[in-house]
Amino acid sequence: MSDRILMQGNDAIARGLVAAGCAVAASYPGTPASEILSSIDRWRKKCGATMHVEWAVNEKVALEIAYTAAITGLRAAVSMKQVGLNVASDPLLSAAYLGVTGGFLVVSADDPGPHSSQTEQDSRLLAMMAKVPALDPASPAQAMALAGTGFDLSEAFGVPVMLRPTTRVCHASQDVDAPPFRPPVREARFVKDPARWAATPAFRRKLHDHLAEKIAEIAAWPATAPIRVNPEVSPAKAVVASGVAFAHARELFGELGISDRIALYQVIQPYPLHAAFIDHLLGTYAEILVLEESAPVIEMQIADRRRVLGRMTGAVPGTGELLPEIIERLLSRFAGLPLPGRPLFAPGDGRRPTLCPGCAHRSAFYAIRKAAPAGIYPSDIGCYTLGINLGAVDTVLCMGAAISQAAGFDYAHRLSGRQVDIVATIGDSTFYHAGIPPLIDAVVQGARFVLVILDNGTTAMTGNQPTPGSGFGAGGEATAAVDMEGIVRACGVRFCRTANPDLLPEFVALLKEALVHARERNVAVVIARQPCAMVVRGTAGMQRDVIVITAECTGCSHCVTRFECPALVFDEVANQVRIDEMTCTGCGVCVHVCPVGAIRMGSAGEKRS
């Protein structure tokens, strides 16, 4: 038996952070970064570490909490997905100027592709803008090691450091040796220095000068210098790669047999790129191919444009993930080899994601279309974005925007003398994250729309992390819980009602009432409260009712297209709908959906034990 254990990239990052003495960790869930914080809490318990670990209300708050721990001398980390860093960019840019006294790591996970994100933006560009160093791991094992290196770098120069994994690192798994845990011996000690920690613009200029000096020194720091893979050869060409693009390239160098004719370098710290490395590249090679995701961060720092090939020159595709098939073609062309004959993988039309069987969001969306058939439906980020399949989601912009967009639609149409029904949807976690300020704004401006808060009591899309309303924390410990209705009313909303969307006819009636209020007065809020089907499914001793399709089914497909439950399957041979017993939860909402009443609950005798 091996001592090595299988670790997912996010788990490895967590282990690296805890082993390096991280004392405070905060995060807001988002794919591909979600598992980092829950893993930190698992390792905290396993190692017996004394830590504060929290799911924060959003990424900005998470970064500010962790950053503040790092100005008391403790080691601290914040983790998020790349669009979360947009939310947290305000404190990050300022924190770069003020610096830290304890190590501070900002883990921002990018998603080239994108696989599960609104954008495929490159967090390293934000690191450049903020002037904080960025580290770019190629594997789970390297990500684990760089967590410790990042803390050392942060403390050596007193700056925040970004660790930037991508989906293919976060959600890769690998056999690794876990580093030992050494309990940190530090105590929090905040040394007052208002000229620094509360710097006014005059001082900020000095801090900026100081930051620029630090960045120049970091561009010579040995521990993060680029690594030459094949130092034994002296060719005229070089490939410079970072992140998982380096992992693909290294494997392909072996397979294509080009290690003797092209130099291969791994860049570990894309920003700031080591100054001596830039000089070495330009003094040694006639041609340099740069492979990195997803923006040309390394490429733009290599000044001689005539010798560099990359995303900026068009030699490397300007968008999309650098899949190994693409890198194989780039390397073959660069090495003067024939191009591989096999076609690139084209993700086809495979089955699209859909809301789970038994998900109450489906009921809410069906009811919204019933109550406001000609409405405009702004929505938001979460599982319920999948309401797009049900025709009940018209816009998705970013966290919290459903509410501001609902208001924007109202003002725009009213200017044109038109009143339209607007029904916005937002999840509970997203509402707490970024929905409260736009709701206050809508109340103040007198916006007229219905807001449906889809309250399933969890952050479902990312793996059922708690929300501020859950009453428990990252490790399952009891916390205070906020009162959603109280928040809505305190924002100034006069119509606020809560109901279970699975009681479909009653819920449609409530929505109609809310629509009347919105048309005649102002914003109305309906809280659709029913626990997440994924959470309920895990409950022991749950009995499933049997749903029956009767012979009256006309094969009209209404339930399949408008309700789109995966457990309702259209049987083309029989020209009827049937129930998929593998997936049906027996929630029975579809009974109210069939226009001819051909779906009914099974009788007691038909019940499963």
Partner: protein
């Protein structure tokens, strides 16, 4: 265990596992990865998380042996396990010439020339056993029995090694372990 018993055999294998969210592709991937580590092999996987897990296409890459990249390139997979047969056209391009496709389907799916196709109605088997959520282990058991384990052209590990990985996962025993082992055995019985 003596030092030389677990000595790595020369293994270099790439496997693709394909299905839709909720079918347990991730579980199968990690189980196989744990069996690889127990066998003394380096392993790299790439998983699908996020929105796709809500019933959309889910694919895992598994590379056993000395690899750097976590992704399998098209035309390189030795084995392709498909839990949702409608994914076959989507992921067939990953299979190498001479590779094997193992698919959850009542009848063999057409996969073109140059590959071996093995089909089993794992849905029906899992349902009849009263364990619809164990369809993944039924297919894996079938695959291990049909293409072999620890042999040329077969899996890098045997059914016994998968059994060992399950025992380590559910070290406390209990009904979940029993259910998992029965599902694996059910698949093995139908593949033998």
């Amino acid at each position: 265990m003596s030092a030389d018993v677990g000595k790595p055999r020369a293994v270099r294998q790439q496997i693709l596992l394909s299905g839709v969210g909720g079918q347990g592709i991730l579980f199968l991937t990690r189980l196989l990865a744990e069996a690889a580590i127990a066998g003394g092999f380096p392993v790299l996987t790439s998983e699908t998380h996020g929105m796709a897990q809500r019933g959309g296409v889910v694919v895992s890459h598994l590379k056993v042996g000395g690899f750097d990249s976590p992704l399998v390139r098209t035309g390189r997979a030795d084995l392709l396990l498909v839990l949702k047969r409608e994914n076959v056209p989507l992921h067939r391009p990953f299979l190498a010439d001479g590779g094997a496709l193992i698919v959850n389907a009542p009848v063999p799916t057409d996969a073109g020339s140059g590959v071996r196709v093995h089909a089993v109605d794992a849905d029906a088997l899992a349902l009849s056993a009263g364990a619809p959520h164990a369809v993944n282990l039924v297919l894996l058991g079938f695959a291990l029995a049909r293409v072999g384990g620890g042999t040329a052209g077969g899996f890098f590990c045997s059914g016994g090694e998968i059994r060992g990985a399950l025992l380590r996962r559910h070290a406390g025993g209990g009904s979940r372990l029993d259910d998992a082992l029965s599902a694996l055995d059910l698949g093995i019985a139908h593949g033998t």
